[in-house]
């Protein structure tokens, strides 16, 4: 295996931000569940690797109704959070992978070579999460959808959202625990009553959906990949949207 010429192991968030800089040439390693196989198989040869294991970016905190999740919080920790995030987290891989994989790695993973990744993006979009990141120009807090559109050169620090009044999650069941999401829909009803839906398993990253089963397919781009065809996803997406809307109605 080719070794990185430089491996940085920050021991605080400030140190992590300083060593990340503007992100040029930096390969960020959170839990390692996505990046390490890329290195093992020679698809990625880091010049500078930033290992976040000891960077002090893990943890879930609450301030009133605001929940903040640090970037290196293990996915398994999220299982106990309210739907849709908790239900989605429980559906990621198996307990060993969930205990090692991090929120930040999952959110920033983007689309993989064979299948969509980033299972947690959907529920976080439904929850109207905001992302706090650092990079060129310093710290920035922005809606998650903006962050997902372009996070090149950004180091995610945490995500925050308001606890929902209700949440729901529907997914195509996986044939094996190690598969990524074929297609999943998350929904959250905010304290004010508005409902927001989002889908994971799309052609690039998760997207917000209209609250309409018949309008969902036209609002997103569906891909053909190793897990499923775009045709199959188009047939299934309205079903999952209906299930989530029904669950949210029943929770009212």
């Amino acid at each position: 295996m080719t070794q990185a010429t430089e491996v940085l192991i920050p021991t605080s968030p400030d140190e992590a931000a300083a060593e990340f800089g503007d992100g040029s040439g930096v390969t960020v390693i959170g839990g390692g569940t996505i990046v390490v196989p890329e290195i093992t198989y020679g698809r990625l040869q880091p010049v500078k690797a930033l290992l976040l294991t000891r960077a002090g970016l893990a943890g879930v905190t609450r301030d009133g109704s605001t929940v903040t999740i640090g970037a290196t919080t293990p996915v398994q920790v999220l299982v106990d959070l309210p739907a849709p995030l908790g239900l989605c987290a429980a559906n990621v891989a198996d307990v060993e992978i969930r205990s090692q994989a991090t929120l930040g790695g999952n959110v920033c993973a983007g689309s993989g070579p064979d299948a969509p990744r980033g299972d947690l993006q959907g529920p976080l979009l439904a929850l109207r999460a905001v992302a706090r990141s650092t990079g060129a120009g310093g710290e920035r807090t922005q809606p998650l959808e903006e962050f997902l559109d372009d996070h090149e050169g950004r180091l995610l620090l945490d995500v925050s959202f308001e606890e929902p009044a209700a949440g729901a999650f529907a997914t195509i069941d996986y044939p094996h625990t190690s598969e990524y999401t074929v297609l999943a829909v998350s929904g959250a009803r905010a304290a004010g009553g508005t409902v927001r839906l989002a889908a994971t398993g799309l052609a690039d990253h998760a997207r917000v959906l209209p609250n309409d089963p018949d309008g969902a397919v036209a609002a997103v781009r569906l891909g053909d990949d190793a897990l499923a065809s775009a045709w199959y996803r188009a047939k299934t997406l309205p079903v999952l949207v209906r299930r989530v809307l029904t669950a949210l109605e029943e929770a009212a």
């Binding site: 990185a4 491996v7 390692g32 390490v36 880091p46 290992l51 060993e96």
Partner: protein, 170 residues
């Protein structure tokens, strides 16, 4: 970097991004963790890191500097098998043996964590472990037996002490 493996401290010479799996197998010649898929999909490389089961193929050694590692060799000895090793032996829960080390480590952690003999809970705990022989029925039976605290007379149920294979193939 240092690792304590099965109670013995080692100074690690491999590079910081070398996987724990490669350190164990190539540098320390501990071959029970298996290089299966090497992308976290099979569970054959699982070891205990500070008591928690973790895929060694996904773990850069620098991320766990100073940790205590337990492989299946550290659970028991051929003369004194751990309860989970004895349960696997009694129930003939290994066929080719390739998945056995990871299965035993994950099952050991499951029972140590208070896991019961409920099949659904065992399936959830071992959900990331693939048996290429599809010998799941006997594996789950072994874990359930260990969770219940069953005891076994291996002089009757196992072929012989010399044939007990703790770590499967190398």
């Amino acid at each position: 970097m240092n690792l304590s493996v099965n109670g013995v401290t080692h100074e690690i010479e491999s590079g910081p991004l070398t996987t724990l799996l490669d350190v164990l197998r190539e540098e320390l010649a501990i071959t029970s963790p298996k290089a299966g898929c090497e992308q976290g999909g099979c569970g054959a490389c699982t070891v205990l890191v500070d008591g928690s089961p973790q895929r060694s193929c996904l773990t850069p050694v620098a991320a766990i500097d100073g940790a205590e590692i337990t492989t299946v060799e550290g659970l028991g000895t051929p003369e004194g098998l751990s309860p989970m090793q004895a349960a696997f032996t009694h129930h003939y829960a290994a066929q080719c043996g390739f998945c056995t080390s990871g299965m035993i480590i994950a099952a050991h952690a499951y029972v140590e964590g208070g896991g019961t003999d409920a099949h659904e809970a065992i399936q959830e705990a071992l959900g990331g472990h693939v048996c290429r022989c599809t010998g799941y029925v006997k594996i789950i039976a072994a874990v359930a037996a260990a969770a219940r605290g069953d005891s076994f007379d291996l002089t009757v149920t196992a072929p012989s002490a010399g044939m007990v294979n703790l770590g499967g193939v190398t």
